[in-house]
């Protein structure tokens, strides 16, 4: 029983990996960007746990910038993915333009809130 579960986990992992290699490059770039943003957010949370939440608005602003840009990148990935039936008619340039504008607004807001 135990052996089969570990074999199942390994099989799962291998199939995940092989499928992932097949994804288009631009999606992989978006995934990398999301990972980078979430990683930065986690570093900030760890720092706050260490030092305390003194300038709380600065903490919120930093975390929000990372999470917000990650969310926008995920939206971009959904809209650009060719396998997605829902956004078949949406031009990928339009999706990228939306992404850029939303990010500009986001960064304006967090710089204001940074204090």
């Amino acid at each position: 029983m135990v052996k089969s579960t570990t074999k199942d986990a390994q099989d799962l992992f291998h199939s995940l990996r092989s499928t992932y290699v097949a994804t288009p490059t631009n999606l992989k770039i978006i995934d990398l960007y999301v990972c980078f943003a979430v990683f930065t957010a986690l570093i900030q949370v760890a720092y706050m746990a260490l030092v305390g939440s003194f300038p709380f608005n600065s903490f919120l602003s930093g975390v929000l910038s990372c999470i917000g840009t990650a969310v926008l990148a995920v939206c971009l990935r959904i809209q650009v993915n060719k396998e997605n039936k829902e956004f078949k008619d949406l031009a990928p340039e339009r999706a990228f333009a939306d992404f850029v504008l939303c990010n500009l607004v986001l960064h304006l807001v967090i710089i204001n809130f940074l204090g």
Partner: protein, 437 residues
């Protein structure tokens, strides 16, 4: 004819300013004192005390206590600044005086010396009770002390006590220590325990008690030991001073001149401490000593000289006040190390002791606390024997304006870094996404 009227006019012109030179805020020492006696022979039997007062510049007006023309006020103005009542057996005061008018006299800020003796009347007891002093209810009781009596006691019933339990205060009794014991012969009184303005100046020794010397004791005496006060003093909240003594003989020439030797002690003194005691006490009660005056409170930010209308939290400010002491003739700078200022809003947020310089200026500096609201600078000074100072000045304190906060907080540098890194990452990502191959 013309010469006479002209010279009279000139003389009165000279006298007029002198006549207005009496008890006032700028010159707190009393000038005109009414002395009520129940027997005019007291003028001669207590002459040393009265001459001492006259030599210090007091105008004494001797009257019998039941003189029908007695008046303290005329048309709303008080005629006297101080009152001495050496009339222990007077039942009723003459003229317009009664215990209420004497209470009003003290309420107006004027001073009183009251002395009872054996057979103190109800009137005298009533006036004393108004000041928080209760004489022994038994009218024939005297203070008896079988271990602290004076060896020169002729009667042998140990009612002439040699007391040396004086209050420890340089203001009330003068800087010079009273070496010889003070001779006392009279009635005991106790202080009302709820009254915190009255205190003992001369108390009896623990072996004293109050009883009738000529009859046997049937029950234990009520007043005993150090609860018995021989001479007490009250300083009212308006800084009027009242001395209440249980013995009229304390002030008499006979006891002033006599030598004293306490029973059981080897020391024999040529002269009792009475003269020094009553002289220093009369200096205190008539405001020749221990009378303080404060100038206004001054505060400003460090580095400025003007008083601001409002402070900000965490401002540095400097505070100062001038206090002077009346020396009997002029205002001298007051020197002490226990004057404190409070920065008060419902409770003191800052309490600091002011440091004195030799010119009477007390100053300190501190930081405004991190609380905003309407504060008061309060100086409340109550020292035994000195007039109470109660000064306050209100000042509001505001919080930071939106542009007065710290600009770049070092603790938040990682967050600033994260934001800018994210922006840079977004910029790089967008190039890579668009132009990858």
């Amino acid at each position: 004819m013309m010469n006479l009227s002209r010279s009279v006019a000139l003389i009165s012109l000279f006298l007029l300013p002198l006549l207005s030179f009496s008890f006032s805020v700028d010159n707190p020492t009393d000038r005109r004192v009414l002395v009520l006696l129940d027997d005019l022979s007291l003028k001669s039997s207590h002459s040393i005390f009265f001459n001492n007062l006259k030599s210090r510049g007091f105008d004494l007006d001797f009257k019998l206590a039941d003189d029908s023309k007695l008046a303290l006020q005329r048309y709303g103005q008080y005629l006297f600044d101080g009152l001495i009542i050496f009339a222990p057996s007077t039942e009723r005061l003459g003229g317009s005086l009664d215990s209420k008018s004497i209470a009003d006299f003290v309420d107006s800020g004027r001073d009183l010396i009251l002395s009872a003796d054996t057979s103190a009347s109800d009137l005298i007891r009533g006036i004393a009770t108004e000041c928080g002093v209760d004489f022994d209810e038994d009218s024939s009781a005297m203070v008896i002390d079988h271990t602290s009596f004076s060896v020169s006691d002729v009667d042998g019933d140990h009612t002439l006590i040699a007391a040396d339990d004086l209050v420890k205060s340089d203001v009330i009794l003068g800087k010079a220590k009273i070496e010889a014991p003070v001779l006392f012969r009279g009635v005991a009184h106790s202080l009302n325990p709820t009254n915190n303005l009255v205190f003992k100046v001369l108390s009896a020794s623990p072996s004293a008690y109050s009883a009738n010397p000529s009859s046997k004791l049937s029950s234990p005496p009520q007043l005993t030991g150090s609860a018995i006060s021989l001479v007490s003093v009250m300083q009212a909240r308006n800084n009027a001073r009242v001395v209440i003594s249980g013995s009229l003989q304390l002030f008499s020439d006979r006891l002033i001149r006599s030598g004293v030797q306490k029973a059981g002690s080897q020391n024999q003194y040529e002269k009792s401490g009475n003269e020094q005691f009553v002289t220093e006490l009369s200096k205190w009660v008539f405001h020749e000593r221990g009378h303080l005056k404060a100038g206004s409170l001054v505060h400003h930010r460090v580095g400025e000289t003007d008083e601001p209308a409002i402070y900000r939290i965490k401002d540095d400010l400097e505070f100062s006040v001038e206090i002077y002491e009346w020396s009997g003739k002029s205002w001298e700078p007051y020197v002490a190390n226990d004057v404190q200022v409070q920065f008060y809003m419902m409770s003191p947020y800052v309490l600091k002791t002011l440091s004195a310089d030799k010119k009477g200026l007390f100053h300190t500096s501190f930081k405004v606390p991190d609380v905003y609201g309407v504060f008061q600078f309060k100086v409340e000074y109550e020292k035994l024997g000195y007039t109470t100072l109660s000064l306050s000045k209100q000042i509001p304190v505001r919080p930071y304006r939106h542009n007065e906060y710290e600009r770049f907080i070092p603790t938040a540098y990682p967050y600033y870094g994260a934001c800018f890194t994210t922006m840079a990452g977004f910029f790089v990502f967008s190039f890579v996404y668009l132009y990858h191959k």
